[in-house]
């Protein structure tokens, strides 16, 4: 049967898979919807509103997995690699969208699909295989019970080159912070995507496409592409990323993300440098090779192989070269090999490293404070290799107290009681990745992010706008994010230097735009794009002419739809809660006392000033300030009348 690519970036097809009935069918993608929601993430929210019923249990048969790969994915647009996976997340109960690169999304597009909607639950272990128009629900009995890494390797052995999304035993056992890995290198679904797959008996998904992706105006498209490649040649940071990967951001990571001892201390800077950057430069104990997601020209991931010690030969993929060392510092694991082995084990089990680390840290801390004892939880709780390995295993297989821990923060705090909740640093049931004391008011967005504190939205705050050291520079960077002049004026007209409550709206919309197009939001890619470039590339690829303003409005529309999904689940201002610990002090990696500061770090901010940013954020979004949710007027303005009616009917507006 002849296949004609659409030649519009889009594949033109939504694939539907009902795991309960074993039915598979295709639905044409109505491109009229792209004008409003752009593609990828944006259309995913629309599909979620249609297919996900409110109030369901995320681990029940009623949950839905919606994959989406934006129109630029599959083309040569640099950084066009992040596909999306929307679902209701078990750890938080929020509806959110995970994203990952590697090569799975590309294969979906090369096979001709923009979205895959997966419903129901298979009767036994299965994996989904998508090879062009051959889509099958395959028996996975031979894979169930195997580690995540082994599952992917076996699927590659069987099928040859293809994109693979796998879960490990943690996902199979419905651990609420189990995730999936794509191509054994990219994490997908903090907050329990792995458990959602497990609850559907979906062990893996594989995809290969040989049909290709075309664009509407090849000449115009390649002119824009060539300009991006030219600018990349002149990029001062390219050698640092090539050599160090994510460790090139050590200063930033150190200054914002290296809290330990349950948020009471930070990593000493020299220790971090010694363990994280030096080994790469000196070629000691590890060999590092850069690894790219598909179509990335700023590869920041790596393949690391240990070259000495007990675990010589161990291979880790992802952002491992620096992660292992930080891990070692946090849990006092002196041996590099042992630190790497724990990380590798988390990958095998398919456990979210971030939540596992934070939860383990919390447990050890409250044990040190004698709120719990090792005896009563039946677990060694020391900062050492054996404790970490044991915890990972007990959680993955839900043994003893591991069964409670596997259900996440809220279950654990409830079970322990004794005021332990005041030591748990979480927002909407999920652990944040940055610290308000060190990031100051730039940490604000973590509080309001509808999914809970998200890594995706760190990109702008951590790498981009937050780096501005003057009002002029801020104006320039905020402009590049699509913030209009009068909004920038509003943001700068603040005793805080910059009102980051108002800024958060533009950070979010900018990140969403990337998710819609399929572009990676990380600084190494983000820095090359502007709303104008995005609009041009989008238009050249799809033939849909949108101005930069229309693009940003589509991002805003998509974001409001996402918020509405969570309003339907009962989330509102009451859930946008600051961690108390952010209002205290901490010794930073350079030995200085840190507390939440204003934007240009001229003075500390009070709790009242920090919390007042909530009103400003809701105002900048045009939402109801008291409830912290979109108004009927805002939804109507954005053309989301049906959503407004739905929320009204439910008594939520």
């Amino acid at each position: 049967m002849g296949y004609e690519p659409l030649n519009r970036g889009f594949g033109g097809t939504i694939l539907h898979v009902d795991l309960s009935a074993g039915d598979i069918w295709q639905e044409p993608l109505d491109l009229a919807i792209a004008t409003d929601f752009l593609g990828g993430w944006g259309i995913n929210q629309r599909l979620a509103y249609q297919h996900l019923s409110p109030g369901i249990d995320p681990l029940s048969v009623e949950n839905v997995l919606i994959l989406g790969a934006g129109p630029l994915i599959g083309t040569i647009a640099p950084g066009a690699s992040k596909f999306m996976c929307t679902t209701k997340f078990p750890l938080t109960g929020t509806i959110a969208t995970a994203s990952a690169g590697a090569r799975f999304g590309h294969h979906l597009k090369w096979a001709g699909y923009d979205h895959v909607v997966i419903t129901g639950r298979a009767k036994g272990p299965v994996y989904l295989s998508i090879f062009d128009d051959e889509v099958e629900i395959c028996d996975a009995k031979h894979l169930w019970g195997k580690s995540l890494l082994e599952t992917t390797e076996k699927l590659w052995d069987e099928h040859g080159g293809c994109g693979v999304v796998s879960i490990g035993q943690a996902g199979e056992n419905l651990v609420r912070f189990a995730l999936a890995l794509v191509d054994n290198m990219a994490s997908l679904g903090r907050g329990g995507l792995g458990a959602v797959m497990g609850s559907k008996n979906l062990k893996a998904m594989v995809a290969r496409g040989t049909r290709g992706v075309g664009v509407s105006d090849p000449k115009r498209f390649m002119k824009l592409i060539d300009s991006l490649f030219e600018r990349r040649k002149k990029w001062a940071g390219r050698e640092a990323v090539a050599t160090l990967g994510l460790a090139a951001l050590s200063e930033v990571i150190l200054g914002q993300m290296t809290f330990t001892k349950n948020w009471t201390e930070t990593y000493p800077a020299d220790e971090y440098y010694k363990r994280s950057v030096a080994p790469i430069l000196e070629g000691k104990w590890l060999k590092r090779r850069p690894l790219a997601c598909g179509v990335c020209f700023s590869a920041d991931k790596d393949v690391v192989e240990l070259t000495e010690g007990e675990y010589k030969g161990l291979v880790l993929r992802g952002e491992r070269a620096s992660a292992g060392s930080g891990y070692g510092i946090r849990f006092d694991i002196q041996d590099h090999g042992e630190a790497a082995k724990v990380l590798h084990t988390l990958d095998e089990y398919g456990l979210c490293m971030v939540t596992f680390n934070s939860l383990a840290d919390f447990l050890i801390y409250i044990c040190e404070k004698e709120i719990i004892t090792e005896e009563e939880v039946g677990l060694p709780l020391r900062r050492d290799f054996d404790s970490m390995m044991n915890l990972a295993e007990k959680i993955t297989f839900r043994e003893g107290f591991g069964n409670t821990l596997a259900d996440g923060w809220l279950e654990t705090i409830n079970k322990i009681g004794r005021g332990s909740e005041k030591y748990a640093v979480i927002i909407k049931g999920l652990d944040p990745q940055i610290d308000g004391r060190m990031s100051g008011i730039n940490a604000f967005e973590q509080v309001v992010c509808p999914r809970g504190p998200s890594g995706q939205f760190l990109a702008a705050g951590v790498y981009g706008v937050a780096s501005a050291d003057s009002a002029d520079r801020f104006r320039q960077l905020a402009n590049r994010e699509g913030a209009p002049e009068e909004a920038i004026n509003r943001m700068l007209d603040s005793p805080l230097g910059v009102n980051t409550g108002r800024l958060a709206r533009y950070d979010e919309d900018w990140a969403i735009l990337f998710n819609c197009l399929g572009l990676c939001g990380r600084g190494f890619i983000n820095r090359f794009y502007t709303p104008a470039i995005c609009a041009e590339i989008y238009s050249a690829a799809t033939g849909i002419e949108l101005s930069p303003e229309e693009l940003m409005q589509a991002a805003e529309r998509s974001f409001n739809l996402w918020k509405a999904l969570n309003v339907r689940e009962g989330f509102s201002r009451k859930d946008d809660v600051f961690p108390d610990i952010w209002f205290g002090t901490i010794t930073d990696p350079w030995g200085r006392e840190a507390r939440a500061m204003d934007f240009f770090k001229t003075r500390p901010v009070s709790r009242e000033e920090f919390e007042a940013l909530l009103d400003d954020y809701y105002d900048e979004r045009g939402w109801d300030i008291e409830k912290g949710i979109p108004t009927r007027g805002k939804l109507t303005e954005l053309g989301l009348d049906d959503v407004a009616q739905d929320l009204s009917r439910r008594g939520l507006l």
């Binding site: 040569i76 090569r103 099928h159 040649k233 850069p290 179509v295």
Partner: protein, 105 residues
């Protein structure tokens, strides 16, 4: 399932091409698996971005890079887009991590 599909994931690979090109040097250790070379090749010669139709082949885990029989002998388009210096025109030099100049083209 044919052997070619099992090994390379392609139903009708025209050749088990192990071709090396006289004008392109390969440093497989530098290949990151980004597949940008495959995209510019397939787009230029077939009008769509499609690694399955590229004339340059990247093996699993970037262990090997070679060219198919269909690769046009004097073409070095892929080297112009490789930013990792994994494939380079033989008359170019490169520093670690930087892109080889393509001005001469």
């Amino acid at each position: 399932m044919t052997l070619s599909r099992a090994l390379f994931g392609k139903e009708d690979v025209t050749t088990m091409g192990q071709l090396k090109k006289k004008n392109i040097s390969i440093d497989v250790e530098r290949c990151t698996g980004c597949l940008i070379c495959q995209l510019i090749c397939s787009f230029t010669y077939t009008g769509a971005f499609n690694p399955a139709k590229a004339r340059i082949v990247i093996e699993r885990d970037q262990k090997e890079i070679h060219f198919t029989d269909e690769c046009v002998q004097n073409c070095h388009l892929c080297t112009r887009y490789c930013v990792y210096s994994a494939i380079m025109r033989k008359d170019e030099t490169s520093k670690v991590g930087s892109i080889a100049s393509t001005e001469a083209n």
